[in-house]
């Protein structure tokens, strides 16, 4: 039950962000500083989620070579403006190749 409530809260919050920005920005212009703050706060969150989500072995900072190579491959492909699907597939393929070789 609490999980459903969390989904509803997250959905309502996300919708409020979308609708609020569409409506309020139409009436009141966001200052460049506020826009930069929002953009960089979201960027920091996404970077943190990527770092937190990296599978670790045995806790701490322990990252296995296949995972390290997979993340590096994702960064390289994303840097070359690769599609999101291609980035994910590249990471998985790199992981499996290194795991197979090792």
């Amino acid at each position: 039950m609490t999980a459903y409530l969390a989904v509803l809260l997250a959905a309502a919050g996300s919708y409020a962000l979308r609708m609020g920005s569409v409506h309020l920005a139409g009436r009141r212009h966001l200052t460049a500083r506020v826009e930069a703050g929002l953009r960089h706060a979201a960027l920091a969150m996404l970077v943190a989620l990527a770092a937190i989500g990296i599978p670790r072995s045995g806790g701490g900072l322990g990252v296995t070579p296949p995972v390290a190579v997979a993340v590096a491959a994702a960064v390289v492909v994303a840097h070359r403006k690769g599609d999101l699907v291609i980035v994910v597939v590249a990471a998985m393929v790199a992981h499996e190749v290194v795991r197979f070789v090792a």
Binding site: A3, L17, G37, A44, V47, V85, A91
Partner: protein, 217 residues
């Protein structure tokens, strides 16, 4: 229509992989599946489910999921001129379709000079957004239901970080964004609660992003 179909086809594999990754957690498959049509944001959906799986409280998990979507404020603000003067029903329904892909599509039609008048934009956005949400929801459900049929050797644990890397790296243009990313990584690897780390990163990102350093006077 063609834009929406091509984007829908492109996001389907990601939706299936995301659904399969969420199915690997202890969170109910129904809960994982309903996140798709209600939230329409893969990163946020996965953040919510993984936070719940890690034992976060209801509010903390929801807050983390919402904070991930802060970028929608920028998208919504950028798209607001297209929504001005539109019927109320469209502003309410269309807001739900403000996502990474539709933002990209609106930027693209703006660059092409297509879909200029309000009526054609409304038609375009409802069709594109509706198809996108339908394709996303269906593919996530397929992943949740059929994820167990995927070979165990597929490293689904990489879907989350790779997806975030794919969203973040193209945005790392300029020294300020790189500093924000470095600070965020520094905070994220500290072994504290992930909720605390996420909030600290959002605050740090805001501070670094608004510092009056390196700006022309």
């Amino acid at each position: 229509m063609r834009d929406a179909l091509s984007v829908g086809v492109a996001i389907a594999p990601l939706g299936v992989a995301l659904g399969a990754a969420m199915a690997k957690t202890d969170v109910s498959p129904v809960v994982a599946a309903v996140t798709a049509p209600l939230m329409v944001a893969g990163a946020s959906q996965l953040a919510l489910v993984t936070q719940l799986d890690a034992g976060a409280t209801t509010v903390a998990a929801a807050l983390a999921a919402v904070l991930v979507n802060l970028r929608f404020v920028v998208y919504g603000a950028a798209m607001s001129p297209r929504f001005t003067g539109q019927p109320r029903w469209f502003r309410l329904v269309g807001s739900h379709f403000v996502v990474d892909q539709t933002y990209g599509m609106v930027l693209a039609i703006g660059a092409r000079g297509d879909v200029d008048d309000r009526d054609s934009f409304r038609h375009y956005f409802v069709v594109a957004g509706g198809l996108l949400v339908a394709a996303w929801s269906l593919s996530v459900c397929l992943g949740v239901v059929g994820g167990s049929l995927l070979p165990a050797s597929i490293p689904l644990g990489l879907v989350l970080p790779a997806m975030f890397v794919g969203i973040v790296v193209p945005q790392l243009s300029g020294p300020r964004a790189l500093v924000v990313a470095a600070v965020a990584v520094g905070i994220a690897v500290v072994p504290v609660s992930s909720n605390l780390a996420l909030v600290a990163c959002a605050v740090a990102g805001w501070i670094v992003g608004t510092l009056p350093v390196g700006e022309p006077s």
